[in-house]
């Protein structure tokens, strides 16, 4: 089981980044052991377009089962959905707290993209 959280830093104590496509890091955690790896998303931060698509691919390529983030746009949502990744949106605070909330079943599954696509 792999859970990915969009993060502003490289630790479980870092703050969750509410953006999906342009979050600097993804922290991928095994919620049972709390073992985690940090995946950099730096290459996407300055893309003029398609950051969400590329971030979605990164998540899919790491065989992630669940993504916890703040917001998810339509193109990223489509990529993640096609990869069979469950998306939990509307989450903030510390990465570790988000995982605890997830384990208690307190987070909501996103039914659709919650923000519009954006252009530069």
């Amino acid at each position: 089981m792999k859970v990915a959280i969009t993060s502003t830093g490289k630790e479980l104590s870092s703050n969750l980044d509410p953006r999906f496509g342009r979050a600097p890091y993804f922290i991928i955690v095994d919620p049972e052991t709390m073992a985690f790896e940090v995946v950099e998303n730096a290459q996407n931060i300055n893309l003029p377009q398609g950051a969400g698509i590329q971030a979605g691919k990164t998540i899919a390529d790491h065989d992630v089962d669940v993504l916890i983030t703040g917001h998810c746009g339509p193109k990223a949502f489509k990529v993640l959905q096609n990869a069979g990744v469950k998306i939990l949106t509307g989450v903030g605070g510390k990465v570790a707290d988000a995982i605890e909330q997830y384990k208690k079943g307190e987070l909501d599954l996103a039914g659709e993209a919650d923000v519009e696509g954006h252009w530069v």
Partner: protein
């Protein structure tokens, strides 16, 4: 000869001037409405359209029976418009710049081109005036390629009047850059003057002769005239703030139909432009 009718600020009267000038001059003219994001000249010209052309751009279509999910298409795409994820390939047509890279690198020949509709061109006529406009599909981000398509109908045998979009960005430059003369329509307000200066800056870079029409000229202040003096910009016509003109506009009527004395003034305007171009 091509006359582009532009303005920095929107709503100054470009379409009023373009349509009335075209109708005053009659059948020698073609009118191209290049404001493809919200064309409105047809509301006054009431043309009969006899040709509608769908404009498409090529985007990739993937044959999943041939695809081996190698991912080369996604690697070469500079616009993240195609991505291999899980057991499928997702093209994002609205991000595609139609370069054909994905098709060229696919080792399985699984990618072919299909046309994505992104606007239409309509051609029609009224009283011998040829009328062409483009309509961009709602939601599209880029209009200059469709504007180019509208301008490709330019007939060198006729006098071409181009109704440009407002502003000073790419769509406006596209609509002005091949013109022999740019007629800038402005109004004597601080906003009118501010945006006029930007438009004059753009026209100067393109090095095209230009002149002004001041609309609602008896409102506001004298600052537009002072600016025109200082920049040596000829004021070729002034249109007062007149209830009859506003009423005609609101009904989709032509000023020259409702107030025939204006036809003479628009013909005079054309003579002044001709003199400046031939000068």
């Amino acid at each position: 000869m091509i006359i582009s009718i532009a303005s920095g600020k929107g709503g100054t009267g470009k379409t009023t001037v373009a349509t009335n000038l075209a109708v005053s001059l009659g059948s020698e003219v073609q009118l191209l409405d290049c404001d493809v994001e919200e064309p409105n000249a047809h509301l006054f010209i009431h043309p009969v359209f006899d040709l509608t052309e769908t404009v498409t751009t090529p985007v990739p279509e993937v044959d999943m029976d041939k695809c081996t999910l190698c991912g080369k298409c996604g690697d070469i795409c500079q616009f993240k418009a195609i991505v291999v994820v899980g057991e499928t390939v997702l093209p994002f047509e609205e991000l595609c710049h139609s370069c054909g890279g994905c098709m060229a690198v696919c080792p399985e020949d699984a990618i072919t081109e299909k046309g994505r509709e992104w606007g239409i061109i309509q051609k029609g006529h009224r009283n011998g005036i040829e009328f062409i406009h483009g309509k961009l599909r709602v939601g599209e981000a880029m209009s200059p390629p469709l504007i180019k398509k509208v301008l490709s109908y330019t007939d060198p045998a006729r006098l071409t009047i181009v109704d440009a979009p407002p502003g000073t960005s790419c769509p406006v430059i596209e609509s002005m850059k091949n013109a022999d003369f740019v007629l800038l329509v402005t109004e004597p307000t601080p906003f009118g003057l501010h945006d006029l200066k930007l438009a004059v800056g753009a026209v100067n870079i393109l090095d095209i002769p230009c002149g002004l029409v001041i609309n609602r000229s008896d409102l506001g202040d004298e600052k537009v005239k002072e600016y025109a003096d200082q920049e040596n910009l000829p004021i070729l016509m002034e249109i007062p703030f007149d209830r009859q003109i506003a009423e005609a506009y609101s009904r989709g009527d032509m000023v020259v139909d409702v107030m025939p004395q204006w036809k003479e003034k628009f013909l005079e305007l054309y003579e002044k432009i001709k003199a400046l171009v031939e000068h």
